[in-house]
């Protein structure tokens, strides 16, 4: 029986060490843990904040679906994925993925897989607020992100 992923979509920040503890407390079978944190960049000083919009309900459901695929495919022992929404300033966290496994390759691949699918299939959108006070554009989807996802479909 595979473990269920821990999925959260929330406006508030997350605590990396608390999330690590949740995946490792009172167990001794975890041999590898990979954590990925995505942060808001200031884009050379031009960005004041990102506004993260999401599709409530579907965002959690897609993240859970992706997490379950990763757990099954890489035999992960645990998986946590947290995505924030709302206004996020440069330097702040946006997304966290933690994958635990018996060995390192599965943990690396599991976290990588979850991020590649999360970027292309989880319903979140970023809008820029610029440092000069003007409203920037919606961030465009990148072909490179689709290509990164598609690599997993070929393997």
């Amino acid at each position: 029986m595979a473990v269920p992923p821990t999925i959260r979509v929330q406006p508030e920040n997350f605590d990396l060490s608390a999330e690590i503890d949740r995946l490792t407390a009172e167990r001794a079978d975890v041999g590898a843990m990979v954590t990925f944190t995505g942060l808001c960049r200031d884009e050379g000083g031009s960005l004041n904040a990102l506004e993260l919009e999401h599709y409530p309900g579907m965002a959690e459901a897609e993240m859970r679906r992706i997490g379950q695929l990763a757990i099954k495919r890489f035999s992960l022992l645990g998986l946590t994925a947290i995505h924030r929404y709302g206004r996020i300033a440069p330097g702040e966290n946006i997304v966290l993925v933690i994958a635990t496994a018996s060995h390192r390759q599965a943990a690396f691949d599991g976290a990588n897989f979850v991020m590649d699918f999360l970027k292309t299939a989880a319903p979140f959108w970023k809008k820029e607020h610029l440092a000069d006070g003007s409203q920037g554009d919606w961030v465009s989807a990148k072909d490179a992100d689709d290509a990164a996802r598609d690599k997993w479909l070929e393997r």
Binding site: G38, L52, E53, H54, Y55, G57, M58, A59, A61, E62, H83, I94, V95, M115, L118, K119, T120, A121, A122, P123, F124, W125, K126, K127, W138, V139, S140, A141, D145
Partner: protein, 84 residues
């Protein structure tokens, strides 16, 4: 009646986050829906000018444009996703 929910620049251009609408019987697929919405006014036309880039979800699951929409309670209409 079906509930339509819009996100990101689709929401901004249509100037609504959601609405419930009656659809004519001729609207059978996601593609038909986008083509129908484009006739409802300038905002819809601007939002759906390039329908091929628009993503659809029926009852909160991703679908292709040729998916039948019969029985859908909620249809999400949005641009390509940019989270992470």
């Amino acid at each position: 009646m079906v509930k339509l929910v819009y996100f990101a620049w689709v929401r901004e251009r249509i100037d609504k986050a959601e609405e419930e609408i009656d659809l004519p019987d001729s609207v059978k697929t996601g593609r038909d829906l986008l083509n129908h919405l484009k006739t409802l006014g300038e905002g819809y036309e601007a939002a759906l000018e390039y329908p091929e880039v628009i993503r659809l979800a029926i009852n909160q699951e991703h679908v292709e444009h040729d998916e039948p929409i019969a029985g859908a309670r909620e249809i999400g209409i949005f641009p390509p996703m940019t989270g992470g």
